[in-house]
């Protein structure tokens, strides 16, 4: 079987389970972070599901209008919303190191031509990735709150950008290669956001 399909099915199964777990945690803790996390995970899952269904039903990858990319970008926008809600009330200021990291990721995203000729998608992803990296690095360096989720989110962005860059070097997706290795680690990193959130959010901490 084509390894691309195996990898995508693995991703869909993992994210489906995590979405259910997110919703259960939201119901138990009544914390808005869990529902935003559920949206982020479900967007990622639906993007992959669309991709794998397209591959299975039509026997090729989407050609003209990349709906999966829109869903994956939506997932990162929800991750950004997660950061905003999670770090609400904490003071943020302009700092050099987070700024360099944020701009660096944004430049790499544009330079690598992540979405090819789709300027709007590239722009939205670049902005979201830059902002997410800035907030994550800021929280890791200067934040008062626990920063396990920040490390996880930062890892997700780095892996996602690496995945796009590595796709330029690999053209055979029928066998296991570094591209799939990065994709599997990305899936696990995204899934790890739930335990990180669980550890960081107290039971009475209702947003």
């Amino acid at each position: 079987m084509n390894f691309e399909i195996i990898d995508n099915i693995f991703q869909v199964i993992v994210f489906s389970l995590i979405v259910v777990a997110d919703i259960v945690c939201w119901f138990l803790h009544k914390n808005r972070l869990y529902i935003i996390l559920a949206l982020a995970h479900s967007c990622f899952m639906m993007g992959t599901l669309y991709f794998v269904l397209y591959l299975v039903i039509r026997g090729k990858v989407p050609q003209f209008f990349y709906v999966s990319e829109i869903s994956w970008i939506a997932s990162y926008l929800f991750l950004h919303s997660y950061q905003i809600v999670g770090y609400k009330g904490q003071r943020m200021k302009i700092s050099v190191i987070p700024l360099i990291c944020g701009i660096g990721v944004a430049i790499i995203s544009i330079w690598s031509g992540i979405f090819g000729p789709a300027i709007l998608s590239t722009g939205v992803f670049t902005l979201a990735a830059g902002a997410i990296v800035y907030i994550s690095v800021f929280q890791i360096l200067y934040g008062d709150a626990p920063y396990k989720s920040s490390i996880c989110i930062l890892l997700c962005i780095i892996l996602q950008v690496s995945l796009y860059i590595s796709s330029s070097f690999f053209h055979d997706y029928t066998r296991f290669n570094l591209y799939f290795c990065i994709d599997i680690v990305l899936t696990i990193s995204m899934a790890m956001l739930l335990p990180c959130t669980f550890m960081e959010v107290g039971k009475d901490d209702v947003h």
Binding site: Y54, F65, S68, S71, A74, L77, S81, I84
Partner: protein, 212 residues
């Protein structure tokens, strides 16, 4: 050649005339159903534009282009309503659902005009599946916007995120029904199935909250 503008005028005029004589929530609902129908006409134009621009066939367009165009177009009147009239939070899902109902109704009317009304089974399945899909998207975007507009900081990222989620959800449905066999049946059934799951979970949560 299908003259959807003429069909739209024919269907919407009685509804618009009724607005003079009805009041309150019913008036608002009827108005947004009409707006939903109008949005369906406009999104057909936008989808056709992109279809010609990319040079794709109808099936390819319905899988890759139409879902995103339709969801974006449906968001505009809702966004206008939220930003200009600043309604109560509980009003937003109702309006989103009304727009979706109008959209789904007009889409079905166009389908009937194009394909005829002889095949009862197919029309029943289509009515249930596409109707459920648009309503599900309306529920999702309506409750989602009501939720995210509580906190202005996440309004833009949340809104674009919701739009992306609805777009891909709609695209998965169109992809499934474009296939044959079991995939098509899964496509027909999953929106209705999701509505049943959603309602069941909602009732369960209300019950559990009462027990607490």
């Amino acid at each position: 050649m299908m003259y959807i503008e003429n069909i739209f005028i024919c269907i919407s005029i009685p509804l618009l005339l009724s607005l003079i004589f009805i009041q309150g929530e019913a008036r608002k609902y009827t108005l947004f159903v009409c707006i939903g129908m109008g949005i369906c006409v406009l999104s057909a134009y936008v989808s056709s534009f992109f279809m010609n621009y990319y040079g794709v066939d109808t099936i390819e367009a319905s899988i890759e282009i139409t879902p995103v165009c339709e969801e974006v177009m449906k968001l505009f009147p809702l966004l206008f309503y939220i930003l200009i009239f600043e309604p109560q939070r509980d009003q937003i899902p109702r309006v989103a659902i009304a727009i979706s109902v109008g959209f789904a109704t007009f889409e079905n009317v166009c389908y009937l005009t194009e394909n005829g009304a002889a095949d009862f089974d197919l029309l029943l399945i289509r009515g249930i599946s596409t109707g459920a899909l648009h309503i599900l998207c309306g529920i999702f975007i309506g409750f989602g916007l009501a939720y995210i507009f509580r906190q202005r900081a996440i309004a833009i990222t949340g809104m674009v995120g919701l739009l992306g989620a609805c777009g891909v959800f709609h695209a998965i449905f169109n992809l499934l029904i474009s296939a044959d066999g079991i995939w098509r049946w899964m496509g027909y059934l999953f929106p209705s199935g999701m509505i049943i799951v959603l309602v069941s979970v909602w009732h369960l949560m209300v019950k559990l909250n009462h027990m607490k």
